[in-house]
């Protein structure tokens, strides 16, 4: 079973040089630490940054430079600032190659639920999740395969309020890497060593298809 660091590293492995990438809060943010330094990947932040760099040393914090989670960050040479409408034009306009988000649930048709835990939560915080899920060229999700109680998070149909319809292309969990293929559903590309497809299926609430 992969831990959070291993999951983040596994995502980073699949990001090629030259992509513009937006990373959500949580494990997605950790992906940045695992992109090799000699591979140029340009990170986008919703609040108007391209070329975002890692967190600064505690004594080098620039209070004017924060990421979408409002944490201090740095700017790489070549980076730029712009306003919110331009930032989301980059997202909605299909200029962002990849967005990586966490999720509560992903359905076999690519639906994603990651912003509200119930229909009755009247003040959920959506932030930029819906714009990113609907707008980025690719949406990958990185999340635990099941909830803490063992309930599957890969499902036939989302039970939580949707963030976007048919948006997810790939899911990285602590147990497997799966593609969401139109007309087929979840196709297993990789399983952690020692786990069988049948065991993975037992933790998944939608049919799994073997790679090939």
């Amino acid at each position: 079973m992969w831990n959070r660091t291993r999951m983040a590293a596994r995502v980073a492995q699949d990001i090629p040089e030259g992509w513009f990438v937006n990373l959500g809060i949580g494990i997605p943010t950790m992906v940045a630490d695992h992109v090799p330094p000699d591979r140029e990947v340009i990170l986008h932040s919703e609040n108007g940054i391209l070329g975002m760099g890692p967190a600064p040393a505690p004594d080098a914090v620039n209070p004017w430079l924060v990421n979408a989670g409002k944490q201090p960050v740095t700017l790489r040479p070549g980076g730029s600032f712009f306003h919110h409408a331009d930032s989301f034009a980059m997202i909605r306009g299909g200029h962002i190659d990849l967005c990586v988000l966490g999720a509560f649930e992903v359905a076999e048709n690519g639906d994603i639920a990651n912003w509200a835990t119930s229909e009755n939560d009247s003040a959920p915080a959506v932030g930029g999740a819906m714009d990113l899920a609907a707008g980025a060229k690719r949406l990958w999700v990185v999340m635990e395969h099941t909830t803490k109680d063992g309930a599957p998070k890969l499902v036939g149909r989302c039970s939580y309020p949707l963030t976007a319809m048919a948006a997810v292309q790939r899911v990285y969990t602590n147990l497997a890497v799966l593609d969401v293929v139109a007309g087929r559903g979840f196709v297993v590309r990789e399983i952690v060593p020692g786990l069988s497809l049948a065991e993975l299926q037992a933790k998944t609430a939608a049919p799994l298809h073997a790679d090939a």
Partner: protein, 226 residues
């Protein structure tokens, strides 16, 4: 001589009416015009509709204005964040109306208002509960939601520099919603760190041209977290 520079917060906020829609720049604390926002408490306007990305944190700025009972409704993308205690209290007590808008749609609704576009279609939110009650139309085989322009009576923005024509620059990620809000209101007021002579800000480096700005007030303050 055109001179948009005023010399007090009171002068900067003169004429803000009860029931006004007030756009407030900033993303978290960065680029948030706290002194202008708190100035509304003394200014006295009530029943305000506030448009901001967040619903305030701690007991300062927007949270302080809300705690003073001046805000009737808030339109934002991310109400709950670290320290949004005042929002939580008022919302739970039913003393605050809330409209949740996806962040990019929020920015684009204001950009549209400033650009004279009354409504637009966006794929964001299609098939979700934030699209309930809105017109949906297919373009290129995908459902899109109609969103209306969001205009402010007043915009309160924070900038780094200004000159007497109201030309503005912003500092790093302090830009965020500020330029978009500046263009979307009847009355735009900027609180700034530095006043420059006309011509001193390089023309190539102006982020918000003065056409979008009505008043400028210099506020001596430290960085966004101070």
């Amino acid at each position: 001589m055109i001179d948009k520079i005023v010399h007090s917060i009171a002068e900067a906020l003169a004429g803000v009416r009860d029931g006004a829609t007030v756009l407030m720049g900033g993303f978290g604390a960065v680029g948030q015009p706290d002194e202008l926002i708190e100035g509304l408490i003394e200014q006295g306007a009530r029943d305000l509709t506030v448009v901001a990305n967040n619903a305030g944190a701690g007991r300062v700025g927007l949270a302080k204005l809300m705690e003073a009972g001046r805000v009737r409704k808030i339109i934002c993308s991310f109400p709950r964040s670290a320290g949004s205690v005042v929002f939580e209290e008022l919302y739970r007590a039913g003393k605050l109306e809330l409209e949740i808008v996806p962040q990019g749609t929020l920015a684009e609704r204001m950009r549209a208002a400033g650009a004279g576009i009354p409504a637009f279609f966006t794929p964001t939110g299609a098939g979700t509960k934030l699209a309930h009650g809105k017109e949906v139309r297919e373009f290129d085989g995908r459902p899109h939601v109609m969103e209306h322009a969001l205009k402010g009576d007043v915009a309160l923005v924070e900038a780094w520099e200004a000159d007497r024509w109201g030309n503005l620059t912003y500092r790093e990620s302090g830009r965020n919603f500020n330029p978009v809000m500046a263009m979307a209101a009847e009355l735009t007021v900027a609180q700034v760190h530095h006043i420059r002579d006309l011509g001193e800000i390089p023309a190539d480096g102006i982020h918000t041209p003065g056409i979008f700005v009505n008043r400028v007030v210099r506020v001596a303050r430290g960085h966004p977290w101070s």
